[in-house]
C-alpha cells in the first residue's frame, strides 16, 4: 500500500525536470566547513574524553556536502561492538548537537583491527 503510494510519488517527480533535492533544502544545510567545525567540537568535548578511557578514539576524516566520514581507532578498530558505539553513541550525539548532518559513514578498516570478533563462530 504505502510502497505503491511512495513509488507513484517518485515516478511523478521523476517525470518533471525538478531536482530531487530542492535548492531551498540545500540552502538550509550548513556549509561543509561549518559542519566540520561543529562535528569536531562534539568529538573533542563529548565523545573522545569518554572513549579514551576505553582505549579508543574517534576521528573526523572528512565532511563532503553534509556527509560525515569518521574513523574509529585504538581499541575500536575492528571491535565487534564498534557498530553499537557508532550508531547509538557517536551518531546519536552528533545528530543531537549538529542538526544539519546527513549520512554518517564509518570508514574504519575494521578487518585490520586487533580484536574483530572473538566469539565462537557458530553457524
Amino acid at each position: 500500500m504505502i510502497g505503491k503510494t511512495i513509488g507513484a510519488s517518485i515516478r511523478a517527480h521523476l517525470s518533471t525536470d525538478d531536482p530531487a533535492v530542492s535548492d531551498a533544502a540545500w540552502e538550509s544545510v550548513p556549509s561543509s566547513d561549518e559542519l566540520r567545525e561543529q562535528v569536531q567540537h562534539v568529538l573533542d568535548t563529548d565523545i573522545n574524553p569518554s572513549v579514551a578511557a576505553h582505549g579508543g578514539v574517534v576521528r573526523l576524516i572528512d565532511v563532503k556536502d553534509n556527509q560525515v566520514f569518521i574513523q574509529m581507532g585504538g581499541g575500536y578498530q575492528g571491535c565487534g561492538q564498534a557498530d553499537v558505539t557508532l550508531k547509538f553513541g557517536v551518531e546519536n550525539s552528533i545528530r543531537a548537537a549538529v542538526p544539519g548532518v546527513g549520512v554518517i559513514l564509518d570508514v574504519t578498516d575494521h578487518a585490520s583491527g586487533r580484536n574483530p570478533y572473538f566469539t565462537p563462530s557458530t553457524k
Partner: protein, 440 residues
C-alpha cells in the same frame, strides 16, 4: 513508537546485522551488553549494561528501565543470551519462549532427554563424567560414536571416535578443552578466544560430557520461525561437504535445498524440526536446526532457539529484500506478522575453515576470489597477527564467502572456485611446539 531491546553480547558476530535492521525499522532501540559501553552516559536510554550470567538480576534491571521506557519486544541475538532473553520477556509479560525451554535448548544433554521423551528421532546418548575411568567407559560405548561437550558451540570439542583408542584420546582432548573454556587453573590458552572463560552463557560445571551414536548421512540446516508453536520454514540449507569427522568443520551451506520437496524430503525434515522444537517447549522466535538424513529418515542433531550464526544470514533475503534480522525483529514486535517468502534465487555461504594452527599473516588472491562469477562477497574475519586454532580446540573460521546464482549447483561451484583462489599465509609453529593434532 515501539521499543525493541536487543541483547547483544560483546562477543557476537551478529551485531552489525541486528543494529542495521533495528535502526532501519524506525523503532526505538535499546541495546544491552554485558559490558558498559563507553558512551552509555551520552545515550542512557539506548545503551544498557546487563549481567547476562544472572537472568533474574538482568530481568529486574530491565523491568526498572521499562517503567520509564516501555519495551515492546526483546530480541536475544544469539545462543549466549537466549535464557536471559526468556527471563526478561517473562518479567515484562511479553510473548516469548519459556525460561525452561530456552534452558533446555542450551544444554545438549537436557535436549537429548527431551527428544527421547517425545520420541523425536535423535541419536542414542549417554551422559558421562570426566571423573570416570576412560578405558572402562570405552568398553561400554558402541562405535562409531561422537564425544561432545554439553554447552560449547561451533563444533568445538565435538570428536568422532571409531574405536577404544580413539575414544580415550577424544575424551582426553575434550577434558583439556573444557578445563580451558571454564578457566581452570593450569589450562593453556589455545582456543583463539580472547578470553574464553569470560564468555557469557557457559555453565559452571565442566565435568560432564555426552557420548552419542554417530548418525551417518548427509546433513542439512533448517532456519525457521516459531509463532505460538507453529514453525514457518524460512530456508533449508544443504551442506554438500561430507561431515564424517573426526572433527566437524562446517564449510558450505546452499539454499534452496536440492532434496525432493515431497513427503520423504523437505516436508519430513520440517516436521521433524517442528517436533523437536515442541519437545523442548520452544514456541516463539527463530530456530536453527541441524539434521542428518539417516537411512531411516531425518534425525535431529540439534535445535537452537536462535537464528543462523556467523555472517551466514547475509545469504537470506525475504519478500522485497528484508534481512533475516529485520524479519526476526518484526516478528518479535508483532505477533501477527507473517514472514514473507525467501527470495527465490539460489544463494550460499562458505565458512572458510582454519586448516592449521599458527599465526595468521595475510591472505592473497582476494580480488581473484571476489571476481568469480556469482560471488557476492568475501569477508576475512581473522585479523593479521591472530593466533589460529583449528577444530576441535578452536571455534573460529577465517572468513566467509557469499555467492548467488541461478541454481544451487552454480552457487556451490562459485564458492569452491572462489575459495580455491585464496591463499592464506600462516606462520606455523615449529613441529616440536605443535599441540594441535589433526588425527582423532
Amino acid at each position: 513508537m515501539p521499543r525493541v531491546l536487543l541483547l547483544l553480547p560483546t562477543t557476537t558476530y551478529r551485531t552489525e546485522a541486528f543494529v542495521a535492521a533495528a535502526s532501519g525499522l524506525g523503532v526505538d532501540v535499546t541495546v544491552a551488553s554485558e559490558q558498559p559501553n563507553a558512551l552509555a552516559r551520552l545515550n542512557p536510554t539506548a545503551l544498557l549494561t546487563l549481567d547476562f550470567n544472572d537472568p533474574q538480576k538482568a530481568a529486574q534491571r530491565v523491568v526498572e528501565f521499562s517503567a520509564t521506557h516501555p519495551i515492546d519486544a526483546v530480541v536475544p541475538v544469539d545462543s549466549q543470551v537466549v535464557v536471559v532473553g526468556a527471563a526478561i520477556s517473562a518479567a515484562l509479560g511479553l510473548r516469548h519462549n519459556s525460561v525452561t525451554s530456552a534452558t533446555a535448548a542450551q544444554d545438549k544433554h537436557h535436549m537429548r532427554q527431551q527428544f527421547k521423551l517425545a520420541g523425536v528421532p535423535s541419536p542414542k546418548f549417554t551422559l558421562c563424567s570426566l571423573q570416570e575411568d576412560r578405558a572402562a567407559l570405552g568398553h561400554r560405548v558402541d562405535f562409531p560414536c561422537v564425544v561432545k561437550p554439553l554447552s560449547l558451540a561451533a563444533s568445538q570439542g565435538v570428536i568422532r571416535a571409531d574405536d577404544q583408542g580413539q575414544f580415550i584420546r577424544a575424551v582426553n582432548r575434550l577434558d583439556a578443552i573444557l578445563k580451558r573454556e571454564h578457566g581452570m587453573p593450569g589450562a593453556t590458552e589455545t582456543s583463539g578466544n580472547a578470553s574464553a572463560s569470560s564468555q557469557v552463557g557457559l555453565p559452571t560445571s565442566s565435568e560432564e560430557f555426552l557420548v552419542e551414536q554417530f548418525v551417518d548421512g548427509p546433513e542439512v540446516a533448517l532456519e525457521g520461525m516459531l509463532t505460538r508453536g507453529e514453525l514457518s520454514v524460512l530456508a533449508l540449507f544443504d551442506k554438500p561437504d561430507p561431515l564424517d569427522g573426526p572433527f566437524f568443520e562446517e564449510t558450505i551451506y546452499v539454499t534452496p535445498s536440492r532434496l525432493p520437496t515431497e513427503t520423504r524430503g523437505q516436508i519430513q525434515i520440517a516436521r521433524c524440526a517442528e517436533q523437536a522444537a515442541r519437545a523442548l517447549g520452544l514456541t516463539e522466535g527463530p530456530v536453527h536446526a541441524e539434521l542428518r538424513l539417516a537411512k531411516d529418515g531425518p534425525t535431529v542433531i540439534e535445535v537452537n532457539a536462535r537464528s543462523i550464526g556467523g555472517l551466514c544470514s547475509r545469504t537470506l533475503r525475504f519478500g522485497t529484500g528484508m534481512s533475516l534480522e529485520e524479519l526476526i525483529i518484526r516478528c518479535a514486535l508483532d505477533g501477527e506478522f507473517e514472514p514473507p517468502e525467501r527470495q527465490c534465487q539460489a544463494t550460499g555461504v562458505m565458512m572458510i575453515p582454519t586448516a592449521c594452527a599458527g599465526r595468521f599473516i595475510e591472505v592473497h588472491g582476494l580480488d581473484e576470489a571476489r571476481a568469480v562469477s556469482g560471488v557476492e562477497g568475501v569477508t576475512i574475519s581473522a585479523h593479521p597477527g591472530q593466533q589460529l586454532v583449528p577444530l576441535p580446540e578452536g571455534s573460529r573460521y577465517l572468513g566467509f564467502i557469499f555467492a548467488q546464482a541461478d541454481s544451487p549447483e552454480s552457487v556451490e561451484t562459485a564458492l569452491r572456485e572462489s575459495y580455491a583462489r585464496l591463499e592464506f599465509k600462516i606462520e606455523t609453529p615449529p613441529l616440536s611446539q605443535t599441540t594441535f593434532d589433526r588425527t582423532p
